[in-house]
């Protein structure tokens, strides 16, 4: 959902009408096909969130489908238990397995997860086939049908209705989820993890949440499948099916929830056609449709990596929000009334990279209500110092404390929680999201809506207030005209200001700015300086790492000058300007 425009209501209505029409007018063959498309859509939808949005690839979803199917099959054939009671059992078991697997594998770099999913996908499949009490390779038969309030679902048409009600409900919930506080954070996981963590997102936890969500959807699909077929065996839960689920999501367009449905429909129908056509064409029967799927994937990834959905979406006129609904902003942190008290203390900080000492016994403090400038020639260690304070880098020695609390062992998201906001030297915006969404991500810690609240759309009041916060920060930064623009459409200088607005949305006590004026034009610099002065007058404390002398001299209260990792001078801008050591470092001696 990389800022994908919302689907027009009429298109959604047409789709639902088509769904309703199929069982009424189409032959049974299409109803069966529709059932499979619905079941596969539910699984692919999980992959849209996990892979397309959060950037974590899984080839093992078929195993979770199997877990759902087998749990319900076993429970309902062992004892006269209602399938509706078996469903929570299946979901619980899947959640436990997914949590365990996710906890282990999601800590690894991107490409280990998919490899691990292949391995446990095969392991779970072989387990189903080798356990005698699960029927071995023959499977389990005689699974009771579902019934709803005494009405027993007896034929494909009945299941068609149920499957698509469930599929549409999961679509609705997933779309809601993406358009919410956790959804914004989830969308940042792909390519923006470090940035999101700087605004309080616990990336590791969120990835596991996405993983469990996808596993639960797969389990739900498996449960439906078991009671539709009333028979399960290991075959449909093997690794090839797991790979096909991923192909569905990627071919359909893994960035949008609708891509799941499009992909599931395309692959299912194509497979049906190919299994009809290929054997007569080739004069041999075999699993030849996988060649076509494979070639399709290779060509698609070479030429149209975003899948089919973006092409379809372009056909319909986009529906775009054009106004931020009025709402009271989220509550702000109580302003810190103290002035001129040390808020951040850097004490003999030291950072080495191998033999290189980037920061060498550096000590200084930032005092409340001031703008402190950290300057120095190239390679002086400014950015390293910035990284140490923001938690992106670990100290080799010494200590950095915020309001007396050491930041040493804290992760970036814990540091964000203390009220420290930051910008990035290399702009870290989510390029396909609107400016409003990007800035709203800054307010992550000020909201509390979780996955469940978001999926059920119970978060709208808070969401409106979050948007109000974001809109206000954008307005303050002077970017109101760009509120709904895609971030990537803005010039680099403006993107830097968006970074500042995002940091403001976090309502920080201490604002860390990493070269915010780089690439700005004269008037933009002036506007930025005015903004920072305004923030200072409201009691915000600001650390400014900057190259631009003129900008720094006119704005800061005090300066710390670094050279070769050490502190060269500290004091008021006018004094520092006269300091012979500083002149020597900058001008090579006079």
């Amino acid at each position: 959902m990389r800022g994908a425009p919302a689907v027009p209501r009429i298109a959604t209505a047409a789709f639902v009408a088509l769904l309703v029409a199929v069982p009424l007018i189409a032959p049974p063959f299409w109803v069966t096909l529709g059932n499979y498309i619905g079941l596969y859509s539910i699984v692919a939808l999980g992959l849209v969130l996990l892979t397309g949005v959060a950037g974590q690839t899984s080839f093992g979803q078929a195993a979770f489908v199997g877990l759902g199917a087998y749990t319900s099959a076993w429970v309902t054939t062992q004892a006269p238990v209602s399938p509706w009671l078996a469903l929570p059992m299946a979901l619980a078991l899947t959640a436990v397995v997914a949590l365990a697997l996710g906890f282990i594998t999601l800590r690894m770099k991107g490409h280990y997860l998919p490899l691990a999913t292949i391995a446990w996908g095969i392991a779970l499949y072989l387990t189903f086939g080798n356990l005698d009490w699960l029927g071995g390779h023959t499977g389990i038969g005689g699974i009771p049908p579902l019934s709803i309030g005494g009405f027993s679902l007896r034929n494909e048409r009945h299941y068609y209705a149920l499957i698509w009600v469930v599929a549409l409900a999961t679509l609705w919930a997933s779309r809601n989820l993406l358009d919410s506080r956790p959804g914004r954070a989830l969308r940042a996981m792909k390519g923006g993890l470090e940035m999101a963590e700087a605004f309080g997102v616990n990336g590791a936890r969120l990835k596991i949440v996405a993983f469990v969500y996808a596993a639960l959807l797969a389990c739900l699909s498996g449960w439906l499948y078991a009671h539709l077929q009333r028979f399960v065996n290991p075959t449909p839960f093997g690794i090839n099916q797991g790979i096909e689920y991923l192909f569905m999501a990627v071919i359909g367009g893994a960035a949008s929830v609708w891509g799941a449905v499009v992909g599931a429909a395309l692959i299912t129908i194509l497979k049906e056609v190919l299994q009809d056509v290929l054997p007569s064409l080739l004069g041999r029967s075999g699993n030849f449709e996988i060649v076509v799927f494979g070639v399709l994937m290779i060509v698609l990834l070479q030429f149209a990596r975003d899948g089919v959905w973006p092409w379809l979406a372009r056909l319909a006129p986009a529906r775009r929000a054009r106004a931020v609904p009025a709402a009271a902003p989220l509550p702000s942190r109580a302003a810190d009334p103290s002035r001129d008290v040390a808020i951040l203390t850097v004490h003999r900080a030291r950072k080495t990279f191998g033999g290189l000492v980037a920061v060498d016994d550096l000590s200084f403090e930032i005092r409340t209500g001031e703008i402190l400038g950290l300057i120095g020639p190239n390679g002086a260690g400014k950015s390293t110092t910035f990284g140490l304070i923001s938690g992106a880098l670990r100290l080799s020695g010494g200590d950095i404390a915020f309001r007396g609390q050491s930041l040493q062992s804290l992760t970036p998201y814990e540091i964000a929680r203390l009220g420290i906001g930051r910008t990035f030297q290399h702009v870290r915006l989510l390029p396909h999201m609107s400016v409003l969404d990007n800035v709203a991500l800054g307010a992550y810690l000020r909201g509390s809506a979780g996955v469940l609240r978001a999926a059920l759309r119970l978060d709208r009041a808070e969401e409106a207030r979050t948007r109000a916060v974001a809109a206000r920060a954008i307005e303050r930064a002077g970017l109101a005209a760009h509120t709904f623009d895609e971030a990537r459409s803005l010039p680099l200088g403006t993107q830097r200001i968006v970074e500042v607005a995002r940091a403001l949305a976090a309502d920080p006590v201490l604002l860390l700015l990493d070269e915010p004026a780089a690439g700005l034009r004269f008037l933009e610099k002036k506007a930025l300086a005015d903004l920072l002065r305004g923030l200072r007058s409201e009691g915000m404390t600001i650390l400014l790492v900057e190259h631009d002398m003129e900008f720094v001299m006119g704005l800061t209260d005090r300066l710390v000058v670094m050279d070769f990792g050490e502190k060269l001078a500290e004091g008021r801008p006018d004094d520092v300007r006269q300091d012979p050591a500083v002149l020597e470092a900058y001008l090579g001696g006079v």
Partner: protein, 345 residues
């Protein structure tokens, strides 16, 4: 379990492990130079066994058709890209390499099959034919995606695995093949019997590992590949062509896989789709080495072989389950051992 059974299982495990080690090396080689997680390595192993088996039976193996098909596609891809770059003058030479050479090998293979040449010549022909498919695969699939992320390359690799499995069924048929043992001799050492076949597999693997070590440590081409592995842009700046490095890497890796196919032929029946599971065992080994270390990958692969053979004794139905579940503690260990800084794209 007594000592002689344990020795037998260990011998089995080490023999299989040596084959997995070759695959693990190929996987690490491809990953470090091109960032491709080479899932379809297993298909090259199957193709190796099946090609040799075809030659043994005196009939043209499916490899002939595969080579012709790949050469035609590569020719089309090459023509299209030369056309787009406006470099048609270079096209004949490129076509000679991408189409001429594979077709020549296919021709020799087709003609040689009924002649029943001596076994070592058949092995060499097999290696040549399967090795030629490595660079073709790189040219057709991976070179156009050289700048894609590791994840995209991985998904593509899985797609290639699908394609090669399907093509394998088409060109080689559904029947499995076994090739005769290189030697039926055996060595008695106390209560333990070593088969000459196992010794040969282990020695051959060790030899290949040694050759690779020398190649990478001491030759200019090896250094060029290492340079590409460490820094693609930097290597490019000093005049190493990434596509040349990719071509060379895929040729080497395909050779390793083809050779393991030749080695595994007498040990187990190989079907068109057997390679996948075997290559995944190589992957478990490679992951133990973090996908970058050759010695750790080889050691990991031997460990996988041993684990597999001992678990087939205790719980034969679950031996694959045990091997693939092993990846979880391995990943846990690696995740605790490395503090990674991630930005996946």
């Amino acid at each position: 379990m007594d000592l002689s059974i344990a020795a037998l299982l260990a011998q089995d495990g080490i023999t299989n492990g040596a084959i997995y080690a070759l695959l693990a090396l190929a996987i690490v080689l491809v990953f470090t130079v091109t960032r491709v997680i080479w899932i379809p390595s297993g298909e090259f192993l199957s193709y190796g066994t099946l090609t040799l088996a075809g030659l043994q039976l005196g009939k043209a193996p499916g490899t002939v058709g595969l080579l012709v098909a790949l050469a035609i596609v590569a020719g089309l891809v090459e023509t299209a890209s030369s056309w787009r770059q406006g470099a048609l003058a270079r096209l004949p030479r490129r076509l000679l390499f991408w189409v001429g050479v594979p077709l020549l090998i296919a021709l020799v293979l087709a003609r040689a099959a009924p002649l029943q040449w001596p076994f070592p010549v058949q092995v060499l022909l097999t290696l040549a034919a399967v090795t030629a498919m490595g660079p073709l695969q790189y040219r057709i699939v991976y070179q156009p995606l050289a700048d894609a992320s590791v994840l995209v390359l991985l998904i593509v690799s899985v797609a290639v695995h699908f394609v090669l499995t399907g093509l394998g069924l088409w060109f080689f048929g559904a029947e499995g093949s076994r090739t005769p043992a290189f030697s039926d001799a055996s060595l008695q050492a106390g209560a333990v019997v070593f088969s000459a076949q196992s010794l040969f597999v282990v020695l051959a693997s060790l030899l290949l590992i040694g050759v690779l070590y020398l190649l990478f440590g001491a030759t200019l081409y090896g250094k060029a590949l290492r340079a590409t592995a460490i820094n693609r842009i930097g290597a490019r700046l000093v005049g190493i062509s990434p596509s040349f490095a990719g071509t060379l890497t895929f040729a080497l890796a395909a050779l390793l896989c083809a050779f393991s196919g030749v080695l595994i032929g007498p040990i187990t029946t190989v079907y068109y789709d057997s390679g996948f599971l075997i290559s995944l065992k190589g992957f478990v080994g490679a992951i133990i080495g973090g996908l970058v270390s050759y010695p750790l990958a080889a050691a990991g692969a031997i460990l996988v072989g041993l684990l597999e053979s001992f678990s087939s004794f205790w719980a034969s139905a679950f031996k694959e389950v045990i091997v693939f579940t092993l990846i979880i503690p391995v990943l846990l260990w690696r995740s605790l051992a490395t503090r990674h800084h991630e930005e996946d794209e």
